[in-house]
Symmetry: C2
Subunit: 491 residues, 2 copies
């Protein structure tokens, strides 16, 4: 780490961009808007995938894989889907290159033009529902609970590592049900799984809510979401779960014979989270020294740095450290003993801080004599001296404590930056002076929602699921409202 | 399972196609050449991925992710790479759709034409080496041992589920090294990992070998491969590992400062296996009743089918079965207790045979009285009565035995269908009458290789790594040869 990161408090945006690159999470590629996810970043994504995949499977879902390409005509089948979606996407028009007859590499072979253009999937509802048509005949074929891990492409003009990229990785669940009630229950179940994942693994508290009709997924009858607060007070939508009603079933003619022996359209849901979560993870916890990773998602949970002069001292330290490494691994803790003599301990300390390793142990000659070891927490930056004999137990407990502390800190931050606001002047003022979540009344109309967005760049993040009935008047229009919604500027 | 599969002995090709579909492994999608991998098929692929990924990580590799799109100009940078590869691929030319002003859905927006076309990756050497240029400055940055799990697209005119599809899933390793020796060692190590995976997990014996210059990967200096024999005697290339020399480093200007403080080009390797392995797995072991899966890759390793009349009998059986299920799960064995009363035991037996479940247990009232349980092996179709008290131990052992037996059967088949041939007439005759591997002398020229292919459709699958020096004359030209190579017709 040659020079310091930009300061979070001075330039949040630059701090984020630099941190993502320097911590080896991701970088921009030569293809505009497409990122390279570097090994360290990818190993965090793998941990996210594993945790989510386990939860999907525990709730009866299976993985499958559907085509990357979607025939152009499919996108027109669900009218509101194409309205909201289909415009900015990568279009495949040809299937062959040939050598340039004038020299100079390869050119597209004009004779290899596709009869119908193919769209690189921006999401897979259309191609999946066209497949479900053949898989579903009777209520016995339902529910169909399928998830896909895949790459998708949405041609974004302004991109940002993890947060908004032309190509990104995600999972998309697509389920089919015999009844509306079951589909709604599935939509809610998956939202709760996302919320649990965000809170228990990412240590990011989230608000569970519903989108307004304006902000619904194109083709959905209801969109649920989880909203997280970043350290600049902005909101980040961390996952969505859609109740599709019978819209896609009707668009792709997916009917089933129900228990009453009658044909009916199938009810659907879809739900997804993406590599955007990586951005949320960085933005929610990290600081001016680098990443702060919750232990459950840290590729290296514990690093041990020996402080030594010469091979003999290193050998003595290693003798003490090796059984600790072995025991930690046995407990399922990922640990690295960095015994390289190429970098100084100070350099290593800074490097592992940058990478967000939750616990750092340092051990030198004096520790050996005293039977102690120095323990540094990444989250609080506290250092303490521990007994080496019971260090494994101590670390196991400490990792739990860190996980909890990171969550509590984020929760406290959100509490401190959430305000109940009841008049327009305060609303406008707080957005600039102390950005965060604003709990305010709204008259329920799209017009007001759009007007507020236009005037303040704040959007309705969601109507919280736990919102209580409360008489009030709309912050903007003064019209009556029966409960508060969450406003914020958002990523 | 309503009607029987086509017979393997009568129409191998049709048997394969039908089996893949009926066993719920995969099906064709509406997009020509792109398949849908169904949940049951995908769960086998997930097991393959897990096993391979573990082996990659044990040998120091890390996963990362690189862009789906490759700028067209990149493909021209490595001359022989583009010659061998770049022609049949999906070309993205536009990035936006718009509503058809004449009604009728969406059309490609002619104003959204890309300045430079993008190619959907057929393989990622070019985009990865263009990235490595920024990652590698000195020998301290080497080796770089990276793998990617991804989808790739090669526009095939004639496609076949798993074996040849326009889009397929794979992993591609791309490593960079300071010395030629190290890169060659990596190439060989990865081939050995593939061979170990094929033999120990897929239960498919493979020949480790080198490709002839004609059959090398475009841009490689040496291509190693593993070749498996299918039940129709044809060869299937199950994995390749390429020594790239300094070709891609030179094409993308990837230099490093070596230990002698001099600039040098980096040495590279790449290696991959794909969902083609699914095809190999099916073709190597299955029979007229359906899949035969090796236990290590079977999504369900043991199925338990109760034979009962009425709820009371089922309850009695369940009481006996539940602890067995629990104990098997504790041993890491995936087990399904199919207590549904919607299908008859006979229907279930056929269904699990079709799906290749290695062990089926059946238990009825008389078994309860006798303390026994009926055990049926999928591989040999043998049935036996076991003591229920020791059934868990018996099954653990039986699964190992089945894994081994499936491998040995495939190995015996390969032995029986491999012939040493020393004259042209026999060569031509055996290819039609008893297809398999032919070990024969070849004069080492591309002309002869091509002529043999033209005359017989047999290709040189590889020069086996364990080939012994042996004076002989070329099967076709009569010119001198110093060792035998493997010929076969291939998928
Ligand atoms: Zn929301
Ligand atoms: Zn070969």
């Amino acid at each position: 780490m040659s020079k310091a990161l930009p300061k979070k408090s001075e330039n949040y945006s630059e701090w984020y961009n630099e941190l993502v690159k320097r911590a080896d999470l991701a970088e921009n590629s030569a293809v505009r808007g497409c990122m390279v996810i570097k090994p360290y970043g990818y190993s965090i994504w793998e941990k996210m995938q594993r945790a989510l995949d386990d939860m999907f499977k525990e709730t009866g879902h299976q993985n499958a894989y559907f085509p990357l390409f979607i025939p152009k005509s499919y996108l027109s089948k669900e009218a509101s889907h194409v309205e909201g979606f289909a415009k900015e996407c990568a279009v495949v028009t040809h299937y062959r290159l040939k050598n340039d007859p004038n020299g100079g590499g390869v050119i597209v072979d004009p004779e290899a033009k596709l009869e119908e253009e193919l769209i690189v999937r921006p999401t897979s509802e259309t191609v999946i529902w066209s497949t479900y048509k053949n898989w579903i005949q009777s209520y016995r074929d339902l529910p169909l609970l399928i998830n896909q891990w895949a790459n998708v492409v949405r041609w974004e003009m302004r991109t940002r590592l993890f947060l908004r990229t032309a190509e990104f990785l995600w999972q998309e669940g697509h389920t089919a049900h015999a009844t509306k009630e079951e589909a709604v229950a599935e939509t809610e179940q998956m939202l709760e799984i996302y919320a649990t994942f965000a809170e228990e693994f990412m240590a990011v508290p989230v608000i569970r809510g519903r989108k307004t009709p304006n902000e619904r997924f194109a083709g959905a009858e209801d969109t649920y979401c989880i909203e997280a607060m970043m350290q600049d007070g902005k909101a980040l939508q961390a996952g969505t779960s859609h109740f599709l009603g019978q819209n896609f079933a009707k668009a792709f003619d997916v009917k089933f014979l129900n228990k009453e022996n009658k044909q009916d359209f199938v009810w659907g849901t879809s739900w997804g989270v993406s590599t955007r979560l990586m951005g949320a993870l960085v933005m929610a916890h990290s600081d001016d020294e680098g990443l702060v990773l919750p232990p459950k998602l840290a590729p290296i949970q514990v690093v041990i740095v020996p402080i030594f002069k010469g091979d003999e001292q290193l050998a003595q330290i290693s003798e003490k450290v090796n059984p600790i490494v072995k025991e930690l691994k046995k407990r399922g803790i990922s640990v690295k003993f960095d015994n390289s003599d190429k970098q100084s301990p100070g350099f290593k300390f800074a490097e592992y801080e940058l990478k967000g390793v939750p616990v750092r142990l340092a051990i030198g000659a004096r520790d050996l004599a005293n039977g102690t070891i120095e323990v540094a927490r990444r989250d609080t930056k506290q250092k303490a001296t521990y007994q080496i004999d019971s260090i494994v137990e101590s670390i196991v407990n400490l990792l739990d404590e860190i996980q909890e502390n990171i969550y509590n800190k984020a929760l406290q931050f959100r509490t401190d930056n959430t305000a109940k606001i009841d008049n327009w002047d305060d609303f406008v003022k707080i957005l600039d002076e102390k950005p965060g979540f604003i709990s305010a009344h709204w008259d329920g109309t799209s017009e007001t929602e759009e007007k507020i967005k236009e005037l303040t760049k704040a959007t309705i993040r969601c109507i919280p699921l736990d919102a209580v009935d409360e008489e009030g008047v709309c912050i903007y229009s003064g019209k009556p409202s029966s409960r508060r919604v969450i406003f914020a500027r958002a990523y």
